[in-house]
């Protein structure tokens, strides 16, 4: 009989190996499914790796794709750490992108050193506000935040579409539902010549470090962790639970909003309604792969990004649908859930007496 015993502490080796094995298991399972569907699996796998990391272009593409994922991954990690189930990062991302566009397409012109921070602040604020509603509903009226954040995603996306077809439509865009481009002073500079990698990755990495320091070194982060660990006990000890949840929500929403800013001001240059192919939801997988650790979010995001970028290459060459990437990411979430059992528990084989 197999018995689960809680571990006193988890060796670092295990903490690193389990997510890696989960990721590989997900990849393997998906390739197995691919094989069952009759596709040339070995070649597909090769193209996947090549597309993700086989050239300078591939690597920069992967990093570019990882940029919003780091930010939405951080958003999910911060929230989940406090047991705040923010499934609305997708909507918060679009809110941030919308705010960035509203501010950054010519209504105000400042030199880049001021313009870029302005756009970032606008986007972060919009993302934070988007999550504030559900959190206040939770704190004051006990409304579960899972459903409200989820439904808000749809509402925000429809709102963005409304804006794109109406007040914010680019007058010179030939009728397409898209906004005017971000002005030059607001565009995040490219980092590598002729590649799409932009300064958004710097923002993302800085955010990761910021969240790490916040969580481990500050009183505010300590309060967030306490509330996530046992809100009743935190309340008893004098920690203001509602205020802490609001702070957590503002931070989480702001991070997701920044992801939107990064995509609009760094990658695309203008806003369309298909800006995000599910970054908000993939961010949840990134956060889980990283075991909610803000530093680990970076490699986790790079892995997920690599899968998506590699799948694009695979798709272009072999015609295999790039929903394959979504499948790998979904499987990764399920695998890492199982993997978390091994980090929390030790397996013991007990012989019946």
């Amino acid at each position: 009989m197999i018995r689960f015993e809680p571990r006193a502490s988890t060796p670092l080796v295990l903490l690193v190996i389990v997510p890696v094995l989960s990721a590989l298991a997900a990849l393997g399972s998906a390739l197995l499914i691919l094989a069952l569907s009759g596709a040339p699996t070995a070649r597909a796998a090769g193209l996947l790796v090549q597309g993700a990391a086989g050239s300078v272009f591939a690597i920069t593409e992967t990093l570019t794709r990882a940029t919003p994922l780091i930010l939405t991954g951080l958003a999910a990690a911060v929230a989940f750490r406090a047991k705040l189930w923010n499934i609305g990062a997708e909507g918060q991302l679009y809110a941030g992108a919308l705010a960035a566009t509203a501010v950054g397409t010519g209504i105000i012109t400042l030199p880049p050193l001021l313009m870029i921070p302005l756009i970032c602040i606008a986007g972060a604020a919009a993302g934070a506000l988007a999550l504030l509603g559900p959190v206040l509903l939770k704190a004051k009226l006990s409304v579960d935040e899972v459903v409200t954040t989820l439904l808000l995603n749809f509402i925000i996306l429809l709102f963005v579409q409304m804006m794109l077809e109406g007040p914010m439509k680019d007058p010179m865009g030939m009728g397409w539902p898209q906004t005017s481009p971000i002005i030059d002073e607001g565009v995040l500079p490219r980092l590598v010549a002729q590649m799409r990698l932009h300064a958004g990755i710097v923002i993302a990495l800085a955010a990761s470090l910021f969240v790490h320091v916040l969580m481990t070194r500050t009183v505010a982060g300590y309060e967030m962790r306490a509330v996530g660990g046992n809100a009743s006990a935190a309340r008893f000890a004098g920690i203001p639970v509602s205020a802490t949840l609001v702070k957590t929500a503002l931070l989480s929403g702001a991070l997701a909003g920044l992801a939107g800013v990064s995509e609009v001001a760094g990658l695309k240059g203008y806003l369309t309604s298909d800006l995000s192919p599910g970054f908000g939801y993939s961010g949840i997988v990134v956060a889980m792969l990283a075991a909610l650790n803000p530093l680990a979010v970076v490699p986790a995001a790079i892995f997920v990004a690599g899968v998506f970028v590699g799948a694009d290459t695979m798709s272009r060459t072999l015609g295999i649908s790039n929903y394959f990437a979504d499948l790998v990411v979904a499987l990764a979430l399920l695998c890492v859930l199982i993997g978390s059992l091994f980090t929390r528990y030790r397996l013991r084989l007990v012989r019946a007496a």
Binding site: I33, S37, W85, I87, L137, L141, S142, V143, D144, V146, V147, T148, L150, L151, L152, N153, F154, I155, L158, F159, Q161, M162, E165, G166, Y281, I284, V285, M288, G319, S321, Y323, F324, D326, L327, V329, A330, L331, L333, L334, L337, I338, S340, L341
Partner: protein, 314 residues
């Protein structure tokens, strides 16, 4: 303004309302069965997708319509059991598992569809369920013709409401299910299997969810589109709270929602371009949030909802 009220008197408004409501009836029934047993099944959105695809695909490949429904139900049940392996047996987070199941079921369905139809741009169609045209019902004003136009699946939904209510409130099994979501320790103490009851509830509930999805591709429409589920699963979760986890109120809630959605579609044509269409499309989601707010304070959640049961834990 008169037009706005006239809408309510037209039979085809109510026909649309009932038709729109049907997947929600299945979905809310499914969700409430799972939650009554103590499990929040956030895989519902993905299970809707999987049910929609698998039922439709079965028919496309030559099976009969009812066989297709059976396939969808089976796929749903399997996904529910998968959810249960994570949450009931291994005690992992119900929130994260649910999101994982949704992502998995959706991506697997989309990928599977593309594997089956790699190059197709306009979705292939099947012979869907036909309206039953039960003319005897036409004697009832307005509602009668509306009901007469419905397909067999809608009647199945009504029957499921009755059955669920019967089982939950009039049988020992139903009592056990309700008990296991409120106080699993008491069920365990009587020698019943908490895990067994929860897995069973998940299987049945998820099967219903999948049939809700299949309704869309096999009755309301006759093809599978990407993004066709469009948040219906999440709305069902909200409506479940609104329905206080009771099958009768679930039917009412779904019908109210269906009526509202049918109404906003017709309002759109009346308002004709003055109000952007997106405002109307937002309404169902906003309504769901409002419904949640109204009920949340006094919501009588099953007390053991989302708490994994570990035998022998004090």
């Amino acid at each position: 303004m008169m037009d706005a009220f006239d809408i309510l008197l037209q039979a085809n408004f109510w026909a649309a309302a009932i038709r729109i409501a049907t997947p929600f009836i299945f979905g809310v029934l499914g969700a409430l069965i799972c939650e009554r047993a103590g499990v929040l099944n956030l895989g519902i959105e993905g299970i809707f997708v999987a049910g929609a695809l698998s039922g439709w695909l079965a028919v496309y490949l030559g099976a009969g319509l009812w066989t297709g429904i059976g396939v969808a139900a089976l796929v749903g049940a399997c996904l529910g059991l998968l959810h249960g392996c994570f949450t009931v047996i291994l005690g992992l987070s119900q929130h994260v598992t649910g999101i994982g199941i949704t992502l998995f079921a959706t991506s697997a369905s989309y990928f599977g569809y593309r594997v089956a139809f790699p190059t197709v741009t306009s979705p292939p169609r099947i012979e869907a369920f036909k309206p039953l045209n039960l003319d005897i019902l036409s004697v009832i004003p307005v509602i009668g013709p509306a009901l007469a136009q419905q397909t067999a699946l809608t009647w199945v939904a009504f029957v499921c409401v009755a059955l669920t209510g019967l089982v939950l409130y009039r049988t020992p099994l139903g009592l056990a299910i309700r008990a296991v979501g409120d106080n699993p320790a008491s069920v365990d103490a009587q020698g019943l299997s908490v895990a067994g009851l929860r897995m069973g509830a998940l299987a049945v509930g998820s099967a219903l969810m999948a049939v809700g999805g299949a309704f869309l591709t096999m009755s309301a429409f006759n093809a599978f589109f990407f993004g066709m589920i469009n948040g219906r699963g999440w709305v069902c979760i909200a409506l479940t709270v609104f329905a206080s986890w009771r099958p009768g109120k679930a039917l009412l809630g779904a019908l109210l929602f269906g009526a509202f959605d049918a109404y906003q579609v017709r309002l759109q044509t009346l308002a004709g371009g003055v109000v952007p269409s997106q405002i109307f499309l937002m309404m169902p989601f906003i309504l769901s949030i409002i419904a949640l707010i109204l009920v949340a304070r006094k919501a009588d959640y099953p007390r053991a909802l989302m708490r994994p049961f570990i035998k022998g834990e004090r």
